[in-house]
């Protein structure tokens, strides 16, 4: 069953009679009596009961949830609910329908919650931008990038400034000239020299490693 497409009203997870028959056919222990003793404070009976019903609850939950962790969450939710409302069980009535009703109710509640959450949320892939600031979405740190950054740091100051302005900040020659107060030919020469020395520095680095 697909989790997203079900209509809760049409969900019939288990019929009470199926559950009742199956537990009688199972270990033979009468859950109704165990529950009555648990209500009186018999912890061993309570443990036997909870351990006995867990596989059934799990089988119900497994019909509605695909992920094992979701199934286990649902099982725990049902167990907690049984614990919270155990005083509401009347031992003169069969235990199977009582358990089935609680399990159905809690599982349907969880399915509804999941469906609501899925309707509101969109899964992000790695391609999605995570922050509004462009700088935060730049993935730095590959070896080449680090080496290049270090090489630029080692350039003489005028070449470093030229490379920053023209290549990293993507300014035009005119803008760079205005910003630095140097002539356009001087910038061209500085760029040429800077790239030559960068090439040399990076080549030396790759040779040495």
């Amino acid at each position: 069953m697909s989790v997203g497409r079900h209509s809760p009203a049409s969900l019939s997870i288990v019929s009470a009679s199926t559950l009742d028959d199956s537990h009688k056919a199972g270990d033979g222990a009468d859950w109704s009596k165990l529950m009555a003793r648990s209500q009186d404070g018999d912890r061993e009976a309570y443990r036997t009961l909870l351990e006995g019903v867990t596989p059934y609850i799990r089988s119900l939950a497994a019909r509605c949830f695909k992920q094992p962790s979701d199934v286990e969450d649902a099982v725990q939710d049902v167990l907690l609910t049984i614990h919270m409302v155990r005083h509401a069980y009347d031992p003169s009535r069969p235990f199977g329908p009582w358990l089935a009703a609680i399990a159905n109710r809690r599982i349907i509640d969880r399915l509804r919650r999941d469906t609501r959450r899925k309707a509101r949320e969109v899964a992000l892939s790695a391609d999605h931008e995570t922050f509004a600031e462009p700088a935060t979405n730049v993935h730095r740190g590959t070896a080449d990038e680090v080496a290049l950054a270090q090489a630029i740091e080692r350039l003489p100051p005028d070449q470093r400034q030229t490379i920053r302005m023209l290549k990293l900040d993507e300014m035009s020659l005119k803008e760079a000239a205005a910003a630095s107060g140097r002539s356009i030919p001087a910038l061209k020469v500085a760029t040429h020299r800077a790239i030559k020395s960068l090439r040399r520095m990076l080549k030396q680095q790759s040779d040495s490693t």
């Binding site: 309570y46 909870l50 351990e51 969450d73 099982v75 907690l80 005083h87 509401a88």
Partner: protein, 223 residues
């Protein structure tokens, strides 16, 4: 994430003896007894409406009163029934015949008394006292219902809160026509049906979250 066997250990560890709930019909009876006490106290403090002896002789009035009272009683029974996980949803139908009778008498009264409406309408002082009765009846009854049905938060919050809202609304309407002269038809409609709808709507809007809140306040749940 807690492992399920660990959770079972923890639950067994904290499993104190619990007192079983009494049968739903008895619990509904207890709530109705509480409602009777509240109404009795108001009757002592405020007194019945001055024209009560006259009005009691009018079949329509008696029918309306009985309709409201029966709606309240049946809705209370239905609430306590529905709060049990293994009881049928069909219990929600139980108060509907009485509700139909009650609403029908209000509607019929409107139709016949329209012309005879008091030109002065209702005096302001009376309206305020009416409102006081409304609060004095519905607030304690709602709180009592919430406390008694808090465990239903995990099971059927919506059905139970609508049903208990209806029970409180019907008992409140019964109280209003017991204590206040509400002969102007429009006023009857506003007070009786309006307050009933208001209380039932509040019950269904906030009942669910109130039940959850109440359940968390009593996390250990009753002994």
């Amino acid at each position: 994430m807690t492992r399920t066997p660990d959770l079972i250990d923890a639950l067994v560890e904290t499993a104190a003896p619990v007192r079983r709930l009494r049968p739903p019909i008895i619990r509904a009876g207890l709530w109705l007894a509480f409602a009777a006490i509240v109404l009795g106290l108001i009757a002592i403090a405020h007194g019945l409406r001055p024209d009560f002896s006259d009005r009691v002789r009018q079949p329509l009035f008696v029918l309306g009163m009985l309709g409201a009272l029966a709606t309240g009683m049946l809705a209370a029974v239905a609430s306590f029934r529905l709060s049990l996980p293994d009881s049928s949803r069909l219990w929600a139908v139980l108060p509907l015949p009485a509700l139909a009778l009650w609403v029908a008498t209000i509607g019929y009264g409107c139709l016949t008394d329209w012309v005879s409406m008091d030109p002065d309408g209702l005096h302001m002082g009376e309206a305020i006292r009416c409102f006081a009765t409304l609060l004095m009846t519905s607030v304690p009854l709602s709180i009592a219902m919430l406390v008694m049905l808090r465990y239903a938060a995990l099971l059927r919050p919506l059905e139970v809160s609508v049903m208990s809202g209806l029970a409180v609304a019907a008992v409140t309407a019964f109280a209003l026509s017991l204590f206040h002269e509400l002969d102007a038809t429009v006023m009857i409609l506003i007070w009786n049906l309006g307050s009933a709808v208001l209380i039932a709507a509040l019950g269904s809007l906030f009942g669910q979250s109130m039940l959850t809140w109440m359940a968390s306040r009593f996390a250990t749940l009753p002994r």
